[in-house]
């Protein structure tokens, strides 16, 4: 039993060292930020019940959303190509087809009324200093503002796919994809997905001229985006490994918690859409996680059996030695 005691001593010091350099050290190095569950408690709740038909008129109305945003599901392409849009606004305004499912309704309402506030970028866009957010706030169409905003949100929700139809890639593209590239293509369930650039999927080109022309567009877009954000937002290919789920989610929820003064806006996604974004980042940066789990289980079974045989062999050999 002396050996078990020695093993206990070795295990104790090993675990102590592990605890000190991993959980303890990381708790000292990184601020722990709890998730707020994507509740957006600082934003007012929607008090009015929206009317989608009325909302459609408002969204499509003169000088309203459709002036800058495309709505593909309604057959409306974006008014500008992404590069021109980014050169005009800093970043390409998103297509609104999925907005109603990806973004929280409270957040959408707050965004329509006061974009800089909802996006938590008021430190960057202060109207008093003449710094206007590129998205014009909605001042109302003459009726009750809260009712009109509720109608617009109801319309966006009515055209959006249902929550269970939202795919990881749709969530990523709508929430993150106009600022962040993912230069790793990936395969999921037998289907190949190309790399993502800020202006969309990177097509396969037969001719080098076309590939270079596309590359040029991406670079032009990135230049405009860099000017707007202050730095080029990072490629997210390996973020699931470099940051991990908790960090990414809490960062999306409120970037200011981690980086005070950052130009990254609050994304305003629902908890479900955030899960989809994480799943997409896993599909890209940790694509072998299912294989790892199944191979892991088999290897563990094999090694257990190996250890049992090794123990039996030792007992057999040492029977004569004692």
């Amino acid at each position: 039993m002396k050996e078990l005691f020695i093993l206990a001593v070795v295990t104790f010091f090993t675990l102590l060292t592990y605890w000190l350099v991993e959980p303890f050290a990381h708790s000292q190095m990184h601020k722990h930020i709890e998730s707020e569950g994507f509740a957006y408690k600082d934003l007012p709740a929607l008090t009015k019940k929206g009317d989608a038909a009325r909302g459609k008129e408002l969204v499509m109305g003169a000088g309203a959303c459709a002036g800058c945003h495309g709505i593909k599901v309604e057959g409306m392409p974006a008014p500008m190509d992404p590069v021109t849009a980014a050169q005009s606004y800093g970043v390409n305004p998103p297509d609104l087809s999925n907005a109603g499912v990806v973004f929280d309704p409270k957040f959408l309402a707050a965004l329509i009324k006061n974009p800089a506030h909802a996006l938590m970028v008021e430190h960057k866009f202060d109207p008093a200093k003449g710094q206007m957010h590129p998205m014009t706030q909605f001042y109302g169409a003459g009726g009750d503002l809260d009712q009109e905003v509720a109608d617009m949100v109801a319309y966006l929700q009515s055209i959006a796919p249902k929550a269970e139809e939202l795919t990881p890639v749709m969530a990523f593209e709508t929430a993150c994809g106009r600022c962040h590239a993912i230069h790793y293509p990936y395969v999921k369930e037998g289907e190949a997905y190309p790399a993502w650039t800020q202006i969309g999927e990177k097509p396969a080109f037969k001719k080098k001229q076309n590939a270079l022309a596309f590359e040029q567009k991406v670079l032009d877009y990135q230049d405009a985006l860099t000017k707007y954000m202050g730095t080029l937002p990072p490629d997210l290919s390996m973020y699931i490994r470099s940051r991990g789920e908790h960090h990414i989610k809490t960062f999306m929820e409120n970037p200011q918690n981690y980086l005070k003064g950052t130009a990254m806006p609050r994304v305003g996604v629902t908890a479900e859409a955030a899960d989809k974004v994480i799943e997409h980042l896993e599909d890209v940066g940790d694509s072998k996680r299912h294989e790892r789990a199944s191979v892991g289980a088999n290897v563990m079974i094999y090694i257990f059996i190996f250890a049992i045989f090794a123990i039996l062999w030792k007992k057999e050999v040492w029977r004569d030695l004692h």
Partner: protein, 404 residues
């Protein structure tokens, strides 16, 4: 020329040419190991197996890795991790084994220190083991450069900067090591060469030396008892295995080794599949960027204790203390003046020295990772001073030790 006869079997044919029966007897069946040992004596085999895992996984990784600053990161994180079948498995085995091998090395070293296995003719075992420790450290550091992530780059920057020698300002030496003003292509290429060729060759040679060094003084035992190996071997060969104090390397010792290896591999593969993050720092999954310094730069856990001996002092003092920490373990057999080669528990003050050293190195390890601020710097400073003090005290406390 020796006399050869027509072989009666393949065995005989080989035996005439390679003396395989003699080899087998000398290296295995009549290579005598003390019976009075515990599982800590299997750490050598555990290390050999872990080194084997590193070598095999490394060969697979080498087939796809690109030593180019523009391609290295993606060749690891995309090609190997996602495109190549089971590339992720080889990488996780390699990464986890690189970390675990140091855990086992430290256990192996502290076992040697505890049982006095560096004394009385076993000095060369200790010295060759220390050379292996240095070679493994260089291997780990050069390997850490290869994924060309943020920690690769900045660890490369910090460690190569040490060679400027503080006030000596030997910047030319630093540039010579890097092949550039900053870590770049030349730097990556040469560390790649070191990692996959020169240092592994040195390690293989040193493993041979380490094994060879065991041969004459024999393996130590749990009670530091001096064994008459010839007499005990004779007893064993006469069939009195139960009363003999020795066992054969194969199968007796090997079967116990493999039992420990089997249990160790459960732990190892658990880490590979379910807990690999500790061995693969998240920061290194950001590509190297010379314009963006990470908030915290720290080495892998196994270098933290010596890093913390560098850190709490001013530049020059720190470098001297760091250099001291790097070489002082080599001097152990000569600083320990006691005539006793027995377990620390029976050695008076040395018993306290052993546990103080172990705990001090764990404190240094912990303080080497946390930010050097407030109480942590103070604790780090005192732990570093304690480390140096313990080594200075060693000859004095062992000199007064009574013969047991």
């Amino acid at each position: 020329m020796a006399h050869f006869t027509k072989a009666t079997s393949l065995h005989d044919w080989l035996n005439q040419r390679l003396a395989i029966d003699t080899l087998r007897r000398v290296l295995a069946t009549e290579y005598w190991i003390p019976k009075n040992i515990n599982f800590l004596w299997a750490m050598g085999m555990v290390l050999a197996i872990t080194f084997g895992l590193l070598l095999i996984s490394g060969i697979f990784l080498l087939m796809y890795y690109q030593p180019n600053v523009n391609l290295a990161f993606d060749s690891v994180n995309y090609t190997i991790m996602q495109e190549v079948g089971y590339g992720w498995l080889w990488r996780h085995v390699h990464g986890v084994a690189a970390s675990v091998v140091f855990l086992i090395i430290y256990i192996h070293m502290f076992t040697g220190i505890y049982y006095g296995s560096y004394k009385k003719g076993r000095e060369m075992i200790w010295l060759s083991g220390m050379l292996l420790f240095v070679a493994f450290s260089a291997e780990a550091f050069s390997g850490y450069m290869l994924p060309w992530g943020q920690m690769s780059y900045w660890a490369g920057m910090v460690i190569t900067n040490l060679f400027s020698g503080g006030s000596l300002h030997a910047d030319g030496l630093v540039e010579w090591i890097r092949g550039d003003y900053v870590p770049a292509q030349a730097f990556l290429n040469r560390f790649f060469m070191l990692h996959v060729l020169l240092i592994p060759l040195a390690i293989l040679g040193l493993i041979g030396l380490h094994f060879g060094a065991l041969r004459i003084p024999h393996v130590n035992n749990q009670d530091g008892e001096e064994i008459d190996f010839e007499a005990e071997a004779a007893k064993y060969k006469a069939g009195d295995k139960a009363n003999s104090k020795v066992i054969a390397f194969v199968n007796d010792f090997m079967s116990k080794d493999m039992m420990v290896v089997g249990i160790y591999l459960i732990f190892f593969f658990y880490l590979v599949f379910y807990h690999y993050d500790f061995a693969m720092d998240p920061v290194n999954f950001d590509p190297a960027d010379g314009l963006k310094t990470p908030a915290h730069i720290y080495p892998e856990w196994y270098f933290l204790w010596s890093y913390e001996i560098l850190r709490p002092f001013s530049t020059n003092t720190g470098l001297i203390a760091f250099a001291f920490a790097q070489v002082i373990f080599f001097a152990l057999p000569f600083l320990d003046k006691s005539p006793n080669a027995v377990p620390a528990s029976r050695r008076g003050l040395f018993k306290y020295w052993f546990w103080a050293m172990l705990i001090d190195m764990i404190i240094l390890t912990a303080m080497g990772k946390v930010p050097p601020e407030g109480a942590f710097s103070t604790i780090g400073l005192y732990a570093a001073l304690t480390f140096i003090g313990l080594w200075i005290a060693l000859p004095f406390i062992t000199k007064t030790e009574k013969k047991v």
